[in-house]
Symmetry: C2
Subunit: 421 residues, 2 copies
Amino acid sequence: MNNNKVNASIITIGDELLIGQTIDTNSAWMGQQLNKLGIWVKRRVAVGDVYDDIWKALDEESQHSDLILLTGGLGPTADDITKPLLCKYFGGQLVTNADALENVKLIFSKYLNRPLLQVNINQAEVPSVCTVLLNKQGTAPGMWFERNGKYFVSLPGVPNEMKGLMIDYVLPKLPTLFTLPAVVHRTLLTAGIGESFLAEKIKDFESALPTYIKLAYLPNYGMVRLRLTGIGDSLYEVTTEVEKLFAELQVQVQDVMVINDDVTMQEAIGKMLLQKQKTVSTAESCTGGYVAHLITSIAGSSAYFNGSVVSYLNEVKAAMLGVKEETLQRFGAVSEATVLEMASGVKAAMKTDYSIAISGIMGPDGGTDDKPVGTVWIAVAGNSGVAAKKFNFSFDRKRNIELTATYAFNFLREVMLQNDY
Amino acid sequence: MNNNKVNASIITIGDELLIGQTIDTNSAWMGQQLNKLGIWVKRRVAVGDVYDDIWKALDEESQHSDLILLTGGLGPTADDITKPLLCKYFGGQLVTNADALENVKLIFSKYLNRPLLQVNINQAEVPSVCTVLLNKQGTAPGMWFERNGKYFVSLPGVPNEMKGLMIDYVLPKLPTLFTLPAVVHRTLLTAGIGESFLAEKIKDFESALPTYIKLAYLPNYGMVRLRLTGIGDSLYEVTTEVEKLFAELQVQVQDVMVINDDVTMQEAIGKMLLQKQKTVSTAESCTGGYVAHLITSIAGSSAYFNGSVVSYLNEVKAAMLGVKEETLQRFGAVSEATVLEMASGVKAAMKTDYSIAISGIMGPDGGTDDKPVGTVWIAVAGNSGVAAKKFNFSFDRKRNIELTATYAFNFLREVMLQNDY
């Protein structure tokens, strides 16, 4: 075990976070990056645009951690709290930094094509004691401070600007400042099994793990990720042990494992299609294009995705997918017969090897005694047939849509694994 | 001004938050709900599954706040830290609660249809000094504690379970415990103008605001929300003043305002279509169904949305949307001529009053000198014509897709406002 554990705190500044107008995605990304370097994020703290609260957070977190990252409070309409506060906290004067001002002008000429306002020019003002980190994607510079052997970095709250500064300056600098342990993660993705049943299945494996290797369960919409994390002094030794245990874990969960990698379900499906050189299309009613959106959120998906018909109305199911009027009348839009015809229809129209078809009732309205909210039929067509399954979800609209997408992808995966049918 | 400000802290527990495997959406929702009641979330703190860190967070936050909400650390595979810790922190013994056990059995019979495991039965164990809050959507009960005039509530981390317990027990209880101020928010949505230019436009309005009314800028993907918040003793007086100022603000931003309500762009578009009793369809290439997904994420959208063709391949644009082969060959898929034909084609095929068509290059690959990554053509068709606009976005794939959706909706809105053309 490495005893030189380096702790970090992330402080996010902004009322919008505390009153819930903005979801904090920055901290998650920062946590991932620091973790990869072997730095442990001990605490994340969000405070409002309140002078005393920011000051107190700096005091407290510098007691908890060796590295304190701040985001937010630097935008052109920010209430002018954070920069003067940092100036007072670390000493020095607020001065206009020539490089930062050049950068503000550059950003305006490159992206914005608008005149510079005084509030924009003010963004080049920084405390004289900081090291300026130039922001290539925005007008607010990053600022680096040191005090009593602790490091403080103030970054803008706009995600791509924060990420750019982390990648360009902060992450490369950290290993030069600290002696960091070796950290090795291996993650696999399972689907169709609940967290507690998965835990029961691998409890012997888990209880036999050495103390320096941890297993984490990360559930998300019908999927559970399993992550092994090893921490130690020797990268070689930690890697060897984690790899050995990861191979063992894969055998134990092979019947529910989607992929032995830390990727999304749609990335796993994309990899399979690419490897098999097959194509897919979707016909979506209740998911309204969400499955197509997930597939196309992956760069390069045009190699295996031809297109989708979102057939919200029955007339569209008939006209564009060739679902028979008789089928719709006799069985209804949410039925096995309809999704089977939708899957065959879209596969033919889009000329793909596989297709997914979905029809259901996502809620909150539209349910009946016969077909309550959450009833979903999913069909998958391959080159030698088409099959359908019925699901019953019992959550809100958003979650029902998410779960449907997961189960649809997993159904397609099963069909592809059976090498068609 | 009300001086009895009630402060809350939210403590989230779980390594998965600190290493960034999970994005914390719970805190945002809790912040929104507390804020509506007039409770100020002073701090949000995330700590890992570490005994001392959780203990210290409880100590610290009970000094900062009157109400401390905890989420996480209660799942069946949690490391058995949080409940024993709460037991020690507040005193008492860990005992099986009969009602909670009944609830575990009920949840299993209702949703899971699987045998109960010991880890599930253990979830009914709670510290003897707490008040149990029954979880209607999961097996982990909520727990309510009081000490030294401060209130502590421990809730599961699964979002819908946490929300259910907040709605059923916590939120109704809080106004009986505290004297809360009147808080009034009014929010409007603008599009197509940057934060700093909006601030410049309304700087006189902003500087003339009384001290008890604040203006916040909430930027998000081509949109900026403006929120007025008034806090005071008299609900009548605060409401009157906020409404008066909100009316004034609407006049000042009328040329860029989408809607005078705190709703999403797609909700605003949905309201307009419903009011005009018009329908819409989409033909999407580079957005891959994302615009259709946003429209159909709104319950009741089947009243105005007929469907979409996601035409990722040129063959699909030709076969299903009637785009001429000649057009595709001569101008390419990302061109004014192509999106105009896509818009007309989908409008005819889906039999709608309006349609949106989108074709572009989202990146990271696929750009050329002529048409770099970020080039997007958007067309909107109405009953008397079709028009197209070209956009150039310069961000990553995800953000380019988000921005395209915003600008597509705003284009449709402009066309609808012009009462067709």
